[in-house]
Symmetry: C2
Subunit: 407 residues, 2 copies
Amino acid sequence: MLIVQKYGGTSVADVERIKAVAERVVRTAREGHKVVVVVSAMAGETDKLIELAYQVSSHPGEREMDLLLSSGERVTSALTAMAIQELGHKAIALTGRQMGIITDAVHTKAKIEKISGERAKKALDEGYVVVVAGFQGITEDDGEVTTLGRGGSDLTAVAIASVLGADLCEIYTDVEGVYTTDPNIVPEARKLEKISYEEMLELASSGAKVLQTRSVEFAMKYNVPLVVRSTFTDNPGTYVVKEDKDMEKVEVSGVAYDKNQTKITILGVPDRPGIAAKLFKSIADANIVVDMIVQNISSDGKATDISFTVPRTDSDRAVRITEEIARELGAKGVSVDDSIAKVSIVGVGMKTHSGVAAKMFETLANHGINIMMISTSEIKVSCVIDAKYTELAVRVLHNAFDLAAEE
Amino acid sequence: MLIVQKYGGTSVADVERIKAVAERVVRTAREGHKVVVVVSAMAGETDKLIELAYQVSSHPGEREMDLLLSSGERVTSALTAMAIQELGHKAIALTGRQMGIITDAVHTKAKIEKISGERAKKALDEGYVVVVAGFQGITEDDGEVTTLGRGGSDLTAVAIASVLGADLCEIYTDVEGVYTTDPNIVPEARKLEKISYEEMLELASSGAKVLQTRSVEFAMKYNVPLVVRSTFTDNPGTYVVKEDKDMEKVEVSGVAYDKNQTKITILGVPDRPGIAAKLFKSIADANIVVDMIVQNISSDGKATDISFTVPRTDSDRAVRITEEIARELGAKGVSVDDSIAKVSIVGVGMKTHSGVAAKMFETLANHGINIMMISTSEIKVSCVIDAKYTELAVRVLHNAFDLAAEE
């Protein structure tokens, strides 16, 4: 088999862990597999570099930021290859450029355009383990160094697995797999044996941190079999695969939460067509992703309130834009609420089980938790609630949908 | 003018120093000059990376070592460019690859083969300060990352200055310039206003650490005007230039010493032609540079002792090779002496002043310092002595040749 193994920052946090990774890699290779390893920067390194950048500059240039940050993964890739060589196995470290990862020129959040992988294929055929520096690529025209954004090493691994036609892409991390919810909040949370791409995608975009959203999208699009498992044990982890019939037997597969959103409301907007379009176009133009939107007609039917949520990190900019537009439109004002949380239930079973959303609303109501906003997809229901009820909401939902029980 | 400024590790050791470098660079640019900046890794970073490598591997692969070490200069180049941008000046950071620095494939001590510099020229014409990551390049065929060895950033600066036709190459460091000898040993040591390339080369290869030997050779070959000066003051520093008539007025320009050599003696070798050739060819084949060689005919005229010195770091390997050859030749044995030092006097004035070497030997003898080996060039005399006399020898020679006096 051809296996791509991705090791996150905590898995390569220090010399001892890098050696442990090398041992796992060599064990896999000696079982007769071809192995490509993708590594993140050592835990804490990327943050340290970002801190340095902000110490020399209040607005560090993004082009230079990419050059800076890409160095973290280069260090780990070199050290990991050395550790593998030390165990007597051939290994070669490749930078994003040497791996042939070509991206667009959007610095700090570049998109992969193509991967040649020629050099890696040749090295694999010659018996080398190929160790790739994750998170980075270069532009085709200028050879500029780019990075793929937070969690970009997951994407590197999935994209390489797809291009090389790997049989499996293993994502090694510091947890045992994907859980029905955060075990820190619900100790009875259960590790899932498998989960569909669609569910994983909804969980990731609902706040579950185990996999980066874009890498799940990519895996789904190119049908790359993924498994999320722990670097620190030999347990099998969670397979992320195509949806199958079994999966629809359960109503809900998991409960996710996200405390990093801000709710912004523009109050008393004249109720004319095109108002919402104008507001959300301005926000989109500023590259801010709006998550949920609710519009209420006011009691007199002449004005309306529009509420929406944005990532906490973008809230200052979003508020500034909203206030400008509120002035232009003659709205009554803008209110901002930072103390909210989004709680979501996800499951492909929703498609065939009716009443799942109603059961969620009822459960929250029974515990005195008010719902501020609701959004739904085919396999997800999300509610915005007061942040102080987050843990309670997660616990009661986990219980209501019987997630601790054996599958 | 087009000025290349090179800042060493202590000059960019932390955020405050990087900001100070940025200020000096911007000041130079605002005086109307085009500026290329070459930076080393932050002081201590390269050693830290080497330590990590030896923690994961007893014999780290040189290819991966280069990938690892090159990251240090990338970090500094990005941070320095950011700091310059923060001061309101355009700046762009370039890696060795982006600067077009092509080297041979001898990892960890690659030689520069050519520099295209097209991108840098364009950026300079557009008003950018160009910040180059020193010490690194890539191979032309495979795009392998290479490094130029210790002090390689000096070489990067001089080579770029040569290719771009710079008017001046400024080497910024933590000392005020080139001194008549080490001021830590002789407090009266005097900073030289100027020194010839040849003298600088002899001083550098005799143990003076202020400039890397290869970069001086390169500057001499391509006639690049160099100045060595302090990052921490505005003092003028020492110009390293073509020899002029004035320089011959003084007998000796400086005294250097080197404590990092080992003396190896192969005892009682049959005195046949070709013996020395065989020994030194084997040592050269192992890429070990032999510095001084002395051969003594033994008293009975039938056997000979050959003594030579090698860098301390290579001594274990050199001893092993010598012992092997000693066995083959039926020599009596091999002795090793680590407690030696080389003391050298350098000056273009020697060419016209006679008796300089005699004065050196006499001065050492007057202070009871025995000379074990002697080697001379047109502008240098070196003596190997017992290491414990190093400081004494440097002081008495500095005094004997009147080096503290005003020029």
